[in-house]
């Protein structure tokens, strides 16, 4: 840990509360302005392929079965069976109970395997349970862990508790990458989103992620913009690049491209890679594939021509 990081931790509360404020209207206006960028032809084609490579193809349902997970893994490996030039998705994201199945299905593909852990989605479980959850997922083959923070503790101002939990989970991850879900829809303000981002990064997150997908407000452009600004500033201060993952509610190619524009004009090239940016999504992938086909064939595509998973 660097000296500045240590100093920041020594008074976490003053540090987090000393971060510059976020003006809601301003950040939303900026995001809306960037959303008007017109991405056409060759740049659209590149953006679509990049977006496909950034998808964490996700299934987090009580009804998930090994069959469903295997089908999703096949989809991640070859999203468009008809077109071998179509890149694979970044990762599969499943519940811990499905990790073994997914690990077998993805073996040798290069597609990462992410597991939610730590009493997803509420985070309301004892620390020991969360750590066990994490260790088991990693042992079963997950190389990425998507944990949730305890929003209750964060909102109660127990920043040290949240910090310690993240740090403990990070340790439990071993070599697996840690994505920290802030559940921004429950944090109430952009100021809190910025603070929670910094808290997670200081505690050892490799990625910060917006949402579980299980609450009313999931990823939005302005929320992601605030988080991108946080990783940008964190890098300037500590030299470490933290990834960002918006999740939930991103369904169309148009949406995905807006996020890529946001990255391009906020943090730049270094984040335009699946190592630094992911989309937590499921139906998005098929829309990307349909748009991709439209660009290749010049015809509008129909859903019957893409695999349903």
């Amino acid at each position: 840990m660097t000296v500045t990081a240590a100093a920041e931790l020594s008074d976490l509360r003053s540090f987090l509360h000393g971060l510059p404020g976020v003006d809601k209207v301003g950040v939303e206006a900026r995001a809306a302005a960037l959303a008007t960028r017109s991405i056409k032809t060759s740049s659209k084609a590149k953006a679509i392929d990049l977006a496909i490579r950034m998808v964490d193809l996700t299934t987090l349902e009580g009804a998930d079965t090994p069959g469903k997970v295997r089908a999703l893994c096949a989809k991640a490996r070859r999203p468009d069976p008809a077109d071998p030039t179509c890149p694979p998705a970044a990762a599969i994201c499943v519940y811990p109970a499905m990790v073994k199945v997914a690990a077998a299905a993805l073996a040798g593909s290069g597609v990462h395997l992410a597991s939610v852990a730590t009493a997803f989605p509420s985070g309301q479980a004892p620390l020991e349970v969360k750590l066990a959850d994490t260790r088991e997922a990693v042992a079963d083959g997950a190389d990425e862990i998507d944990m949730v923070i305890s929003r209750g503790a964060f909102l109660a101002g127990e920043y040290t508790r949240v910090f310690d939990e993240i740090a403990a989970v990070k340790e439990a991850c071993g070599g697996a990458h840690l994505k920290v879900i802030l559940e921004t829809g429950e944090l109430g303000t952009y100021d809190n989103i910025r603070r929670a981002s910094w808290l997670a990064m200081l505690a050892g997150a490799d990625f910060i992620k917006t949402s579980t997908g299980k609450v009313t407000v999931n990823a939005t452009l302005p929320i992601t913009l605030v988080m991108l600004e946080a990783v940008r500033d964190f890098r300037a201060r500590h030299g470490r690049i933290i990834g960002v993952k918006p999740a939930g509610g991103i369904k169309t190619t148009k949406d995905a491209i807006k996020y890529l524009v946001l990255i391009n004009e906020t943090v730049g090239d270094d984040w335009l890679s699946p190592d630094r940016f992911r989309f937590g999504a499921s139906s998005l992938l098929n829309d990307l594939l349909m748009q991709r086909t439209k660009l290749t064939t010049g015809r509008y595509a129909g859903p019957d021509y893409f695999t349903l998973d």
């Binding site: 809601k24 209207v25 952009y190």
Partner: protein, 281 residues
């Protein structure tokens, strides 16, 4: 030679009266003209203001302006009402100078009228603007700053140009036409809690001093109500254009000061400031 007006006012058989010296009123004090000049009006030697007196008066008005504008509207209203109280008590002095008693009464009442406006004009002239977006947006009037007034000759006219200017927080340099009446009014002001420099009053010939005020870089507005010649008014308006001063033009045929003044005497010397702020958690 006509008798001194102060003698007329206080004449008593068998007693040699003490005459009043009519000086200027600048920064709350009553100095003589720096030029040392006087001129004879109705038997009195009256200070004949020079351009340097005008300059000094602008300095005094500018110095007093931020604090006067920064006073609460309630406070300014009280000060104006205090002027009315003091003037009421000295009505005889004005009638002794030949002002009709009804006009003195109307002038007192005008102070009272404007006193009441101090904390209402902002509500009438400003307010919230319903803009199409997540913004708080409000317009409020603010005083223009330092105002030069070429005042009409009558007492009611004089009060009717000074009161609407100062009630909102402007400070004024008045070029007065009827010097004895004007200086008597200055004495009222000097005893009425009006901070020094808020009203500065120069006697003399406006044709000599007004052009200096019209072209002065530190004067924000000029009221030409008392200018009685259209060519002079036009010339002063042209000079005022140099720094884009706000100009109140003389009214052809004169102003009926007994009528309801309406809002324009105040709003003509107000600036509208509109403030925006986003609304969001």
């Amino acid at each position: 030679m006509p008798k001194s007006s102060s003698v007329k006012a206080l004449a008593e058989p068998g007693r040699l009266s003490v005459r009043k010296t009519y000086k200027l009123y600048i920064g709350g004090a009553f100095p003589r003209s720096e030029s040392g000049r006087t001129y004879l009006v109705d038997g009195d030697n009256v200070a004949l203001a020079s351009r340097k007196d005008a300059r000094d008066a602008v300095l005094a008005a500018r110095a007093a302006q931020p604090k006067w504008a920064g006073a609460t509207a309630y406070n300014r209203g009280q000060v104006l009402y205090r002027i009315a109280e003091m003037m009421e008590a000295r009505r005889a002095e004005f009638t002794a100078l030949g002002v009709r008693s009804s006009e003195v009464a109307a002038a007192v009442d005008r102070w009272v009228w404007y006193a009441g406006w101090s904390d209402k004009i902002a509500q009438v002239a400003g307010g919230a603007n319903p803009v199409a977006g997540p913004f708080f947006n409000i317009s409020a009037p603010e005083p223009t700053g330092v105002v030069a007034l070429v005042a009409p000759a009558s007492l009611l006219g004089l009060v009717s140009v000074i009161a609407p200017a100062i009630v909102t927080g402007n400070t004024v340099v008045v070029l007065a036409a009827g010097p004895q009446v004007a200086i008597t009014l200055a004495e009222v002001l000097a005893t009425s809690d009006v901070p020094g420099g808020v009203v500065n009053l120069l006697t003399g010939r406006y044709a000599e001093t007004a052009p200096w005020l019209a072209s002065h870089d530190d004067v924000n507005a000029i009221d030409l109500t008392g200018v009685d010649h259209p060519d002079v008014a036009a010339e002063l308006e042209r000079a005022a254009a140099g720094t884009l001063k706000r100009v109140i033009r003389p009214v052809t045929g004169g102003v009926d000061f007994t009528a309801d003044p309406g809002l324009r005497p105040m709003t003509a010397l107000l600036e509208t400031k509109t403030v925006w702020h986003p609304k969001g958690y």
